[in-house]
């Protein structure tokens, strides 16, 4: 068995200067991360589609049942919680920037105080 680091090598950079097209490289950095996430979302959707088609072909369910599915009250609550959790996790930085508006002056003063204490 070879002992290559397959994860690092799969992500390796090609030789040569990488071109950046936007004025700010950080925009391009975020775009590239977003595209990778988009790819993985597409992959997950294709997997779900495979799953649904197989379940239907085996008579486990009809896909119309999925479209018509209505959660009962506890399920609806769990799903709403899951949405909130996902949104909060992904948009963490926006929440933290809002928090910073409130505590920034105080935080800066505290940091200065501790740095010189």
């Amino acid at each position: 068995m070879s002992t290559i680091d397959r994860i690092a090598l799969a992500n390796a950079k090609a030789k040569g200067r990488r071109p950046y097209f936007f004025e700010h490289p950080e925009a391009e950095r975020v775009l590239n991360i977003t595209m990778a996430v988009m790819q993985e979302l597409a992959v997950t959707r294709e997997r779900l589609d495979t799953l649904e088609r197989l379940l239907e072909s085996k008579g486990v369910l009809a896909r119309a049942e999925i479209e018509a599915y209505a959660p009962d009250r506890p399920a609806a609550q769990q799903r709403a919680d899951a949405h909130q959790e996902l949104i909060g996790r992904c948009l963490r930085i926006l929440q933290q920037e809002v928090e910073a508006l409130h505590d920034a002056p105080q935080a800066a003063a505290t940091a200065d105080e501790l740095a010189s204490s």
């Binding site: 068995m1 070879s2 290559i4 397959r6 994860i7 090598l9 799969a10 992500n11 390796a12 950079k13 090609a14 030789k15 040569g16 990488r18 071109p19 950046y20 097209f21 936007f22 391009e28 775009l31 590239n32 595209m35 990778a36 988009m38 790819q39 597409a42 992959v43 294709e46 997997r47 495979t50």
Partner: protein, 398 residues
């Protein structure tokens, strides 16, 4: 009825890609990743690229005319103008990102099964009289120093003994870049050459065929199959490509090809010993010095009545500067450093300089003729400036 429902308009599903013994296995999600990338490429060429053209016509060109009192006369001027256009920035950034995603996806598939792939290839290659590698071979700098089209490690990179990771990655992922337009076995270039030969020269029966820069042999095999009585010599400078090419050919049942590690600038073959010499998307990955030697060597090797055919993207001469600028994208953004120089060259003058008669040189276009209804015919595909299954051929007769 939605037009989309009437005919299959998307790239074919990855599951339609042809299999052979050294083709990496793909899981459901790995295949889905290639499906996504093929569709993303289609989106870039059909939804975003028209915006790049529009930004040039409506904004960039008038801006240039207002400032200079004339139209842009060189692709460099177009490039400087377009670098400021967000439509171009978006398309380019996504195109580059997609190339990198494709490399990552292919390498991830290959590296998790590399030991098995290397062992399978080695078993098919062992003691074969049709594979000739040279352990101390000097790879020319124009191949060794560049990771062409952003393949980390390039054509020659080796991660283990008997390594085939580079060609396996090339093979498993080219579908994503071309949207399946090259056919089940990604051999559209080779099949296009065969179709053209059969149509334009139905009586041509080459006895010996040389394929220069054969890579993983995907364009070699259609020629070998079309001329089963011919002896085909396929040369490349990269040992991993040849290991994979030989194993692939053997697995696909093609036995009239010898895969030889050699530099086609100077081959150990007799004068006038080939009736047909081809290269498929190779010239742009060489160098100014190498291409001179290649043309000289092909002239020496070509038998009377024989033919040289170089398959490439179109040359720039006589081409609109905006199209030149688009076609030049790979030179700057996809690790193709010789692309621009090569496409600016006068290939006819080059051929004449090396002893071909000017009236015996010719230029023509060839297209991949696909045989599988799952794959879209190449003539309905939108031009994607370097990605479509249609090529320019520079040819010369001896």
């Amino acid at each position: 009825m939605d037009a989309r429902e009437q005919s299959f308009a998307g790239p074919p599903p990855y599951q339609a890609v042809g299999r052979h013994a050294v083709m990496p296995e793909t899981s459901h999600d790995e295949a889905a990743r290639f499906n996504f990338l093929a569709n993303l490429n289609k989106y870039l060429s059909s939804a975003l690229l028209p915006g790049v053209k529009r930004a040039y016509e409506q904004r960039a060109k008038p801006r240039f005319v207002a400032e200079h009192g004339r139209l842009p006369q060189h692709r460099r001027e177009v490039r400087e103008l377009m670098a400021q256009e967000s439509a171009y920035q978006n398309w380019s950034a996504l195109r580059r990102s997609t190339m990198e995603c494709r490399q990552q996806a292919g390498r991830a598939v290959v590296l998790r099964q590399l030991d098995r792939l290397n062992r399978t290839a080695a078993a098919l290659n062992q003691d074969s009289p049709r594979l000739h590698l040279q352990p101390d071979f000097a790879v020319p700098r124009y191949v060794a120093a560049v990771d062409h089209h952003c393949m980390p490690g390039g054509y020659t990179g080796e991660l283990a003994a008997d390594d085939v990771s580079a060609p396996a990655n090339y093979d498993v992922g080219i579908f994503a870049t071309t949207g399946g337009a090259l056919g089940r076995y990604s051999d559209g270039g080779g099949r296009a050459l065969v179709s053209w030969l059969q149509e334009a020269h139905p009586d041509f029966r080459p006895r010996r065929i040389l394929d220069i820069g054969c890579g993983l042999g995907h364009n070699t095999l259609p020629l070998a199959q079309a001329f089963p009585d011919a002896e085909v010599v396929a040369v490349d400078v990269a040992a991993p490509m040849l290991r994979y090419a030989h194993a692939r050919a053997r697995s696909l049942g093609v036995s009239n090809v010898r895969f030889v590690q050699a530099n086609a600038e100077h081959l150990d073959e007799a004068d006038q010993s080939f009736d047909l010499i081809v290269s498929c998307m190779v010239l742009h990955e060489t160098s100014r010095t190498a291409i001179e030697k290649l043309f000289g060597e092909t002239r020496r090797l070509l038998a009377p009545g024989g033919m040289v055919l170089h398959v490439e993207q179109p040359q720039y001469h006589g081409m609109d500067v905006f199209e030149q600028f688009l076609r030049d994208w790979d030179a700057f953004n996809n690790n193709e450093p010789f692309w621009t120089t090569m496409h600016d060259m006068d290939l006819r003058a080059l051929a004449v300089r090396h002893g071909f008669a000017s009236e015996q040189t010719f230029e023509t276009g060839v297209r991949a003729a696909n045989d599988d209804s799952l794959f879209p015919p190449s003539d309905v595909r939108k031009e994607d400036y370097g990605r479509a299954a249609a090529w320019y051929v520079f040819g010369a007769r001896a």
